[in-house]
Symmetry: C2
Subunit: 921 residues, 2 copies
Amino acid sequence: MAAKKTPKYVYYFGGKKADGKADMKNLLGGKGANLAEMVNIGLPVPAGFTITTEVCTAYYENKKKYPKELKEQVLKALQKVEKEMEAKFDDKENPLLLSIRSGARSSMPGMMETVLNVGLNNVTREGLIKKTGNPRFVYDSQRRLIQMYSDVVMEKAAGVEPAEGKGVRAQLEHELHKMKDAKGYKSDTDLTADDLKELVEIYKEKVHKVLGKPFPENAMEQLWGAIGAVFQSWMGKRAISYRRIEGIPDEWGTAVNVQSMVFGNMGDHSATGVAFTRNPATGENYFYGEWLVNAQGEDVVAGIRTPNPINEVGKSEHTSHMISLEEAMPKTYKELDKIQRSLEKHYKDMLDIEFTIQEGKLFMLQCRVGKRNGTAAVKMALDMLKEKLIEEKTAVLRVQPYQLEELLFPLLDPKEEETAFVLCKGLPAGPGGAKGQIVLTANDAVEKVKQNPNAKVILVREETNPEDIEGMRAAQAILTARGGMTSHAALVARGWGKCCIVGAADIKIDWSSRTINFKGEVLKEGDWISLNGTKGKVYKGDLQTVSAAENKDLVKFLTLVDKYRKLKVRTNADTPEDALKARQFGAEGIGLFRTEHMFYGKGSEEPLFHLRKMIIASNEAERRAALNDLFPYVKKDVKGTLAAMDGYPVTFRTLDPPLHEFVPNKLEERKKLSLALNISEEEFEERANKLHEVNPMMGHRGVRLGITYPEITEMQIRAIFEAAAELLQEGKKAFPEIMIPVTCIETELAHQYEIFNKVYPEVCKKYGMKKIPHLIGTMIEIPRAALAANKIAKYAQFFSFGTNDLTQMTFGFSRDDIGGFLGDYLDKKILKFDPFQQIDQPTVGELMEIACKRGRSTRPDIKLGICGEHGGEPTSIEFCHKIGLNYVSCSPFRVPIARLAAARSALMNSKKSKSVNKKKK
Amino acid sequence: MAAKKTPKYVYYFGGKKADGKADMKNLLGGKGANLAEMVNIGLPVPAGFTITTEVCTAYYENKKKYPKELKEQVLKALQKVEKEMEAKFDDKENPLLLSIRSGARSSMPGMMETVLNVGLNNVTREGLIKKTGNPRFVYDSQRRLIQMYSDVVMEKAAGVEPAEGKGVRAQLEHELHKMKDAKGYKSDTDLTADDLKELVEIYKEKVHKVLGKPFPENAMEQLWGAIGAVFQSWMGKRAISYRRIEGIPDEWGTAVNVQSMVFGNMGDHSATGVAFTRNPATGENYFYGEWLVNAQGEDVVAGIRTPNPINEVGKSEHTSHMISLEEAMPKTYKELDKIQRSLEKHYKDMLDIEFTIQEGKLFMLQCRVGKRNGTAAVKMALDMLKEKLIEEKTAVLRVQPYQLEELLFPLLDPKEEETAFVLCKGLPAGPGGAKGQIVLTANDAVEKVKQNPNAKVILVREETNPEDIEGMRAAQAILTARGGMTSHAALVARGWGKCCIVGAADIKIDWSSRTINFKGEVLKEGDWISLNGTKGKVYKGDLQTVSAAENKDLVKFLTLVDKYRKLKVRTNADTPEDALKARQFGAEGIGLFRTEHMFYGKGSEEPLFHLRKMIIASNEAERRAALNDLFPYVKKDVKGTLAAMDGYPVTFRTLDPPLHEFVPNKLEERKKLSLALNISEEEFEERANKLHEVNPMMGHRGVRLGITYPEITEMQIRAIFEAAAELLQEGKKAFPEIMIPVTCIETELAHQYEIFNKVYPEVCKKYGMKKIPHLIGTMIEIPRAALAANKIAKYAQFFSFGTNDLTQMTFGFSRDDIGGFLGDYLDKKILKFDPFQQIDQPTVGELMEIACKRGRSTRPDIKLGICGEHGGEPTSIEFCHKIGLNYVSCSPFRVPIARLAAARSALMNSKKSKSVNKKKK
């Protein structure tokens, strides 16, 4: 055994050399690692040291005691800092002040504590005054230390829990205001050096009185107190709940960064600023940032003073009159510009930097990869690729899939949103922004737009159903009081890429007055409202929309993306028009064509009428007669869709929903149907009532219909093959896939397969063809189907995961009814996310994995896909990639997002598997 | 390697020695193995040989060709038979005739073919006439051969498919009738020897004409034709579908038994009979059977002639005038009696035997373990144990769990059932028989019985709901038009052991005339009907019921059973009364106490009213007020139930169903509630509508209610612990288990656990107790819960499988709606059984196994049970035993059945595991 080495708990940085470097984030936290890296590449960084995350872990494992070696290591590092900074901590002549900051592996903004100016007391302040010649600055710094320290270290970290408004911070604030009031000052800057000196003593007294113990004058005590407070804050309530949400393990711990203070507020040769190496909003390649003269970092961030643009190129109409750092301190600016260039080159990414200028001397305080919006992300990725700063794979990984959303939809003007009146909030079911006049029925929506094709209407409903389809198409957006993210309205809207908000529980529609009560604010039909479907917010009035300009970069970027994608991306589309649209978005097939959707919203009501006749039929003869009438319509739509997809596979799902969904509610239509069927209205009612079910989602639907009424399946299969045969005869391409829904037992599929075995040769014979290319498969959307996949695969050439229903059954959550508790579940953190949006990998995902494994054990070349809503959600797409699906299928508007998510999954997982292999070796 | 030995395909039996024996059923089939065994123990069996099941398998594997060694082995065996029987096959002087019969491993009665009198032709018949001196018998035998052979071998086995009524059998029957008509005969026995001789020729001509080829006169051709026909019939449609239902693999194959013919129809010294070594209906220990003089075996079975009792002891009032075998042939009877005694001793079980007496000589043709009813099975097991014929374990295994049912419930008189008018059929939801007058509402049922406590009514409903509970209690039985085996009516009735038929789809209730139309037969309120809940049959009129007398043997038998049981057996009970009843049946605890059931049918409406007030409350204050009113009622019932169980554990499930189920339908009650809540009727309607759900089974229910309204859980936990504390203070025992339903995420349980953590110490403190014994656990009834069981077990001290809901979610079958397709699924063999009755082991069972394994991985001592309906079903109980559950819980009336099933599982599985170990060694 090797001799036990003393663990290294403290990493020094400063001068030209640091103990750490950028890739030591796990040990040093993000901030500490980047400070070390900047030192290593020769940038001016105030010296300091990082206490590792391991100390945090050890601290909590060992009853809040530090490892015994820590103290010595801290003192040694402090000596190095003193040497580098040519000043001494707790020195009455030439005192060094320190900042104490947290720094976790993953950024947790604002969740942990910071203490500045540590080391200042009535003795050291004299040295500092001598050194700076600026007593006001020194007293102000001391006052700030007391304020921050008493709050963070003496109260919070010590576990004191004052009543609301009785905390030490509030009481010191009160003293400050009292003094300002007494002296008639308006601003903090009116306070003189003497005022501040007096305030320091008032503060100390108050602290003693409120907390029952004196403010520590001992600098070393201040230092250890501040370090302890940072570690303590890792287990603060806010931090814990933030980690729960973000999925950050408690074991990671935080590092503590102890760094020499530098001051941007030492006069007109001092300044501070934050900047980005490129414009984070547009992606344009120029140095972009803001600065303030004679200020501290927090002043820029807090927004108390309006900061100036950092350079000339960054000036806008509104800021052209302000002085830039480039003008004010040209030499320092040049130095900074050089630094930012070298940093970007070094990190090969756009960086977010913080700097301070202390009496003309530039110090770098922070650098990290900068946040950017979608447009900027795409532009930067392409630009950096062109500049050869990064390679293709990195460019693909630089854009998050969700960031593409904003490139695809119009938005409400964010500035108008800030001030607009919020009527209510709901679930963000369809992204983008829209505005229009309220209509309360689908029919009104259709009529308004018929009268004036430029009319903009918003359809507001309790909830929508298939009969509302035409009105939903006509409306700019849909707003419903009920339903979850996969309710009818949400599904349809998302499919169209239409703005939609659902489950806005505060809406009450009063039909007698035809008004809507939004928690007291009453609007009537025709009133304007605006919707932010990305955030789920509903505003009163007619807000501006901003058309996120068609980004040419997007096409270029997606072409790049496709080079690295393994998963195919298909779309869910129900009409030839949608199919065509989806191909423009890059869809490589249709993963879900819902036969039943073709009957709605087609202008002509005939097919729907025949469908209803079929449903209300009470025997096979009546049913077959109705099916014969229906046949040409189905065939026509199938043919159009197959033609639009030009040989790409099209998955036709046979009739899925419970039949009662199609029984019309309107009396007039019910009468018409009973006439057509030649039955009395009573008989009609009786038949319709017989279709009623208590839990229709688990009732007589899907393949269950095909088994009790095989003639329904037969008609559909015949229509599909005849359509394909005709296209092939016309010299066109066609590749239909027939998908049986709601299967849970292999015998169900065997039964349907027999129908295929009868119809397929008949169609081949009719058209004189030897074969028509096709596949027959099934949805896997019932837990039992996943578990029995080995048996089901005997009859299925493909599986398509219906993760909506699979989630529904696995959780026992009715999609239509989760409105009653999902909000509570998310609020109370019972659920971390809505499982109808993201695949719940440990359970629904496990069932999918089981199904894949068992399906392949029977049929190694089985084709595997997903057609649930999750097929367009990035984390779910990554999961689909990992378990080896062949394709994902999603709404047309999500196809670009899915393409990117698929490519990223392929890249990230090949990386991961490589690194795993490395470890194993 | 050993030299390849010629496989033995043919097993001879006859004389004193057979090649086979009783334990070779797999190879020789049941019939062949027992024939061999009888020979081995020295009984008189007509010589013959068995062609093994392996030949059948080889035949089908090898394109319907026999193994090449078969022919030689058959001929050799035939020679031995000829020698033993002192006659020669195909001999014109002293011909041997053969019977060819199937014989599979498992009995498949009537599913395969038999050919008798093989070897008879125009040449051999002359020898037989000479030998028997009975030409009429010989011609009749020849005619029967032609009839049977042409049908079975020449038509069916050859794959000829004649039109309805055009088959050769029908055409030969026609010739027979033609001759009888022409000669003016009434009965077959009027036919003379000459008539029959003529008929033989007519038959041969007809066979040639109908089938296009002559009837084979060659005896050897007849033999091979008959053997082939038996093998062929293994793959006949009837046999295949029988095997599908019974779960018999095709690979087992059938054996073929070729045996010398003996004749019971050779005159007054000949006879045939079937008998049981004990009375199969009562279990009494005397030789019981029937015989016919001058007859063939099929005559006894076919019921054309009324058979005589075999002995004096077996004579009844109706048969006392008939002559018994004991009287008619005392010597032969004695011989037979001796044989049956030795057989029972040898087989150590009650046997079913067939014999034939040919001219005074007794031959045994078959023996097998005899079928018996439940009463007899219990009595025989106990008697044989007392007689030291069998040991205890064997006695336990001698009774099938389902056989106990008939010992527990009254029945309709089976004789009356035979002739009664069947109104309709439904699903047999509650066993036993009942009769009564039709009532159409629960209220009427209550009223009728209130007016006359001896009134017998049958409640007939479309479907039942919780509001019908009181009427259901008052009624003798329940009949519904809708619902499956686990619908509300079925669950409740089964729980009470009440006769119930559900899903009788042919029922149409006409409310205007208050009549019921049973497919044309119209009955009105007050008309009598009778129900057989075991078979699902509804009869018109007032049938006799037979009270299956309280069997004292049952108690004795169950005491024996309990010695070998590993699983505990609990009951599902919702009131102190039910709890007491269940303990009398031997329940060792309550596995499911449904809190919500206590509110119905209690005479007083107060608790229900408070519950409804709580449900319709719109804020926490209103809800807490209602909960406070509810608290004393809950506590009282909990206390009563805990007291009744006297220290046995009682599992209280917290509120489970969706709230809207409790909203009253009656306007009057709705008004009363709105008054009590001080809200307008409109407001009431609005609140009630808000509770409406599309799929309530997957909606806001179970733990989801406890999370949105923690105060509901809190009230229940407090009531349970206060009740327990009071009992303990009174010096009594109490062991409550708190069970959270519908859990699917561990955080749900964590949330509820916090409520417990608050309430439990409060109650302890209030009663000055250090602890109150208890467990906290959860239902596993959602697929996700099974998959996440490792996480859930962090908070759950026990799991109870709710297999009703688990099956529901795993299959996606709504229990309330399967009426629409389950019948079709069973008819079309999509499902082999109703998964709500038997656990679907490959899928629902797999989820249970996963949950057990993962639960134990987190908490090795976790207590595991089942409280779904499956807990009372024998195959499911065996499965529960195998996966190592601690207990099953079922309706009180199924407790005895569960006890037996549990004991059998323990015995069978210890046997199995032993034999597995043996193999491994």
